[in-house]
Symmetry: C2
Subunit: 353 residues, 2 copies
């Protein structure tokens, strides 16, 4: 893993660890944290479901397993700061980690539908948002605050949103949120709250720092240290994006035919419709083949063979989604003070001399 | 109206006719047709609902009105060819109309929910698509074929999709689809089939020419005359887009403060989060104010005041959506053989000498 920070622990794997795995091995799954990783006794742990509900709940893991149907969803999580390194090449972003393209990973998540738990709690008609709270305290807000966030009730009631206790058929590792993690497929990873302790139905979005103030695209001229609740574009569904996973950036590759592979993600309920790859700076493009998929909530892996000229080569990849939309070309226009959502075309440099 | 073609009739208004109207006057509503406009006797007309249903229906207008709840939705329709003129500046697109930015308009549509009619027809569990058929025969396919198309059942069952007989509180004009038009908010106008005669539940998308072969983004190198069913990206939800409505392109405007207004549209269930306007070619940007909205299915009007320098000025506008995604900058990369989905930044030229 490439460790961006030890405390809180923030790390992503190299591209080679993601390449070729449609489901990510847990030890290659990126880890994005805002505070110390809590140690929770699963036997003593309870999930509180409260707020605008007719029937507040206090559930043990056993009760969650017993009372609700088991569900498995293969879903990709992506950090809103994924590919921030490309924005840092445009202009500095003080205080934020230089994430590469591997703060993106896919798990087979098992648990119960959040919708089923909310149906049991019986939402009031004015419950427009579902807030999540966790015990990991972040020193970033002033004063420090436990991590939290929310999603609109319409998303929370969608069948793909899980309360998960297992990943890839194994118990959820502590670092990935044990005993229970919300999984919000198609949305930025920040909403898939780890070490979940409380689910609250409410009329407004969460007032937590990580919902109200962070994870927002501010205009370029904004001073992020002065940004307050409600400023900027609040992030939820993921934007169309793609990256090259193999060869690795900077690799030595002999000239001639070379296989290029990568991932693409359209976000929420959109799908990846086409991937183009260029080895001549975008003058000509080859359409990549899309690999078999793992359902609507997983990334789309792709591959193609290109003919590498000798010398230094820039390989570019770009995705189109099911609306016929194309990613923007340059990170220059996407730069924002907190460095979120770099979804410009993917570029790696190879030496094929 | 700017008439692109008399037969079939294809026309859009000038920008000035759309500016300042959050709901478009019917005589300024673009008209996109593929065949002659049919004349239908509303008393004799019937809607057939068939295919994968347990209870096939044959409904008169009166039965539709009597049996189902009246619903009104304010929704924007946008032709997939909207702003094709910008792609034509990149490279020629033979046989397609040079639509400007005004093949976009908003109506208050009244009718019944398609979902309610489908519930009455009682869909089979394998009804994955809902197809629409109309009597207007297009000479474009070989052999000629009546117009049709389909949408996935999940969209058809969404409460915003209507069977509409009125527009802006008046009976639906013949040219806009009387006696009955499907309204599919957030999707390309081609799916809002006019002069609707048949709704068919089926396992696969419509095999109609305008679903299977047309309204698809082909790769740049494709020969559209050889494109067959299934080629390219099938269009459905609308891509993020925006345009300037006032001043008009080419207008003479005195230097100094000038109000700029326009529309933006995020497509399907996304929302417009921010509009930037530049008068210096994108070096600096002003954030526009978003006007009051008309619900999730209507365009977002916006306005701002810029300080026009003297001389020739290019005014640029660009939209960001609720995923933090930005429109692509240039139409050059978006060019496609049928000229769909030009969602590059909006640009007009003013003379402020």
């Amino acid at each position: 893993m490439v460790v961006h920070e030890r405390e809180p622990y923030n790390a992503e794997p190299p591209r080679t660890a993601l390449a070729g795995h449609r489901v990510t091995p847990p030890d290659a799954f990126y880890s994005r944290n805002h505070g110390p990783i809590p140690e929770i006794d699963p036997a003593a742990w309870r999930l509180t479901v409260d707020g605008l509900v007719h029937n507040p709940l206090e559930l043990s893991l056993e009760q969650l397993r017993d009372r609700f149907d088991d569900v498995e969803v293969t879903a990709t999580l992506q950090c809103a700061g994924n590919r921030r390194a490309g924005l840092l090449e445009v202009r500095d972003i003080p205080g934020e980690e230089p994430w590469g393209p591997c703060a993106t990973a896919t798990g087979r998540w098992s648990g119960v539908r959040l919708a089923d738990v909310l149906a049991h709690a019986d939402l009031h008609s004015d419950a427009a948002h579902i807030a999540f709270a966790a015990p990991d305290v972040s020193p970033l807000p002033d004063p420090p605050e436990p991590y939290g966030g929310s999603i609109p009730a319409a998303k929370a009631l969608s069948p793909e949103v899980l309360l998960a206790w297992a990943m890839n058929g194994e118990p959820l590792p502590r670092i990935h949120g044990a005993p229970l993690r919300v999984i919000v497929p198609g949305w930025i990873g920040a909403r898939s709250v780890k070490w979940l302790s409380r689910v609250t139905a409410q009329a407004e979005p969460s007032a937590n720092y990580f919902q109200a103030t962070a994870y927002r695209v501010l205009p370029p001229e904004a001073d992020p240290s002065r940004a307050g609740p409600g400023d900027g574009i609040s992030l939820g569904p993921i934007a169309l994006n793609c990256e090259i996973l193999s060869p690795d950036d900077g690799a030595q590759v002999p000239p001639g035919p070379a296989q290029v592979t990568g991932y693409a993600l359209a976000g929420d309920d959109r799908t990846v419709a086409r991937i183009d790859v260029s080895v001549d700076g975008g003058r000509t493009w080859t359409q990549a083949d899309l690999d078999a998929g793992d359902g609507p909530w997983a990334w789309q892996h792709w591959h193609t063979t290109v003919d590498l000229p000798p010398g230094d080569v820039e390989v570019t990849a770009r995705a189109w989604d099911s609306t016929g939309a194309l990613q923007p070309e340059s990170p220059a226009h996407l730069w924002n003070p907190k460095g979120y959502i770099n979804n410009s075309w993917a570029r790696i440099h190879l030496n094929s001399a």
